[in-house]
Symmetry: C2
Subunit: 357 residues, 2 copies
């Protein structure tokens, strides 16, 4: 009868998950025994999903949002590609995406039997538009861009990518799973308001401070969502566009509650706090001689010797690295300046000297 | 600032979801801010997933279970087919399943680009083994059977289907999403202990009384699971076999807690109570002249005139129908004899007379 200790977030510095907002936690608890996958039975939570979609539309500049609250960014990305594939009915479909795209695109390609064409990023880790233009062809069903990359927090040139996509008859998808709740407070061009993009991933359970599982999948056109529909014989609703069947009422209710509570002022405040934390950490790392990547959004990447990285993990810091080996610190809402100071102090203790590179 | 009312279960009679056990709810609440999809960061919940898998193995007769806690039965069914597809590497794969199979198989076929061959059931709603044998060929990668069908609660002849599957070189999958936590207390042959089946869906968030999302996917052989693996570049774990990325720590922790609390005595008691409820309801319906299907597991189907069905929905009963139109009452742990009495009393009020058929 052991009771495992729950997670504390003091030393979690590389996760894109965070502590949910108290209002989100409370709503999750109230709706924990509901299933939005069966809207005719669980009507109250079905209404909350409509609320959540409206908020997501407002945040992303889409007056009439179609879509649903998904299990997370991976499902949303898989489903965006599946919708494009079913909509296009091409016999040899491909998807073009920058190498900065989340690994869920590899998963989607395997699951869906779609060719994934990965193209290089530029020197600042953004999608290279010329390379994307080179890679698309008549069988391209979707071009993807990322608004807030997982590894470096970069925003791809969404309007230019959308032109390339539409120029070749493909749909344009934006993965703003992580960035979607902070980008509205920046000058980036990333949303349905900035370009005629077709679909977007935006996760309330990341920077939106909802509980897991609460991802978001949005479409501009209803007919693209309809390409996902499967008949539901024993439910009183007639069809289902989601990838999963039973879904989490806690996720849906908490997403609606978090956005009601935090949009826009709470999210703006969080963004400003964490952007300041990221910039402060970046300068501290540079001052110590580390090769660091300037944070455009609240995410700092820096090259650390493996021995220092491992020592910090041994000290209990929950950190991870990019594919090319950089430490990545994601300044999520649970991250405090105090915690970053403690991290730097441990880094100073384990580092081998002032000049590391 | 409206506060939507949470769900009450008094009148929910056709859902395969239920009220979670208090221990499951408590564990969910403690682990709500964890992500088992990132085990190197969220280590405590990763350990709980191992516990949950061990329990699932014990329940299903599998000494060394491979697999994971999924978002639900749909993901588990999709992933079982995906694993079989990737493992077989056939250029024109098909899956053979009885018509009683859950609609997630239709979804899986669309998602994965696999042909789904649906074969008839027998007069008692069970897979017809001869028809399955007729339908398989060299390109069959998987045969599916259901242990507790969604519409009539029937158990397919799993050992015989497994022979057919293995005879044609295909894997054998059992969908026990709903039945898995009640079948151990019956004489049915359904599990890894009864036949050399290869994979199984069994959902803690249905009769297991965990919170949503807690599905279960089990495999006998590790190499079949490995066919699902996708690299995870920025996580300190190296690969991911799940369909989603971020996953619900609440679901995982609650599944472990519910099984620790209820296996086996609590589940047995629940089964006995609800089987008695189902048999009582069946006899009451038959006594009123309704054409009803005898419950083999705690699920009663009965033919009602549409007008009566609609009137009962108008009275607030959350009920649904099979594809062929029968009312289906699923005696889940939240269903009480008192609630069934109230339902019958309303049925008597809305019915047009003693002879309906």
């Amino acid at each position: 009868m052991q009771r495992a200790a729950p997670q504390t977030f003091d030393r979690v510095l590389s996760s894109m998950c965070t502590q949910p907002h108290p209002a989100a936690r409370e709503a999750a608890s109230r709706f924990i025994a509901t299933n939005p996958g069966d809207p005719a039975t669980y009507q109250a939570v079905a209404a909350l999903e409509e609320d959540a979609l409206s908020y997501l539309g407002e945040i992303t500049g889409l007056a009439t949002p179609h879509g649903y609250v998904a299990s997370g960014g991976t499902e949303a990305n898989i489903q965006a590609i599946r919708a494009a594939r079913n909509h296009a009915r091409d016999d040899d479909p491909n998807v073009v995406a920058p190498e900065s795209v989340h690994f869920s695109f590899q998963k989607a390609a395997d699951v869906l039997g779609v060719e994934l064409r990965i193209v290089p990023v530029d020197a600042d880790y953004r999608a290279n538009v010329a390379a994307v233009r080179e890679a698309v062809d008549d069988h391209t069903i979707l071009v993807a861009g990322v608004a807030g990359t997982t590894e470096f927090g970069r925003v791809d040139p969404i309007p230019a990518l959308t032109e390339v996509a539409h120029g070749t008859g493909a749909l344009m998808h934006v993965d703003a799973a992580w960035g979607g709740f902070i980008l509205p407070f920046t000058d980036h061009e990333w949303s349905f308001a900035h370009a005629p993009i077709d679909s977007m991933t935006i996760d309330p359970h990341k920077y939106g401070q909802a509980v897991v599982p609460a991802g978001g999948l949005l479409f501009r056109d209803k007919e693209v969502v309809d390409a996902l529909a499967v008949d539901t014989p024993y439910l009183e609703s007639t069809s289902q566009a989601t990838l999963t069947g039973t879904r989490s009422g806690a996720g849906v209710a908490s997403a609606a509650a978090a956005m009601r509570e935090l949009w826009p002022h709470g999210y703006r405040e969080e963004y400003e706090t964490q952007q300041a934390n990221a910039e402060w950490l970046y300068h501290e790392l540079v001052a110590r001689g580390y090769d660091a990547v300037e944070p455009e959004l609240p995410l700092v990447a820096a090259r650390l010797p493996d021995s220092e990285f491992e020592s910090l993990r041994d000290l209990g810091w929950r950190i991870s690295r990019t594919a090319s080996g950089e430490l990545r610190v994601v300044c999520m809402p649970h991250v405090s300046r105090e915690s970053l100071r403690a991290f730097l102090s441990d880094l100073d203790d384990v580092s081998s000297g002032p000049a590391r590179n």
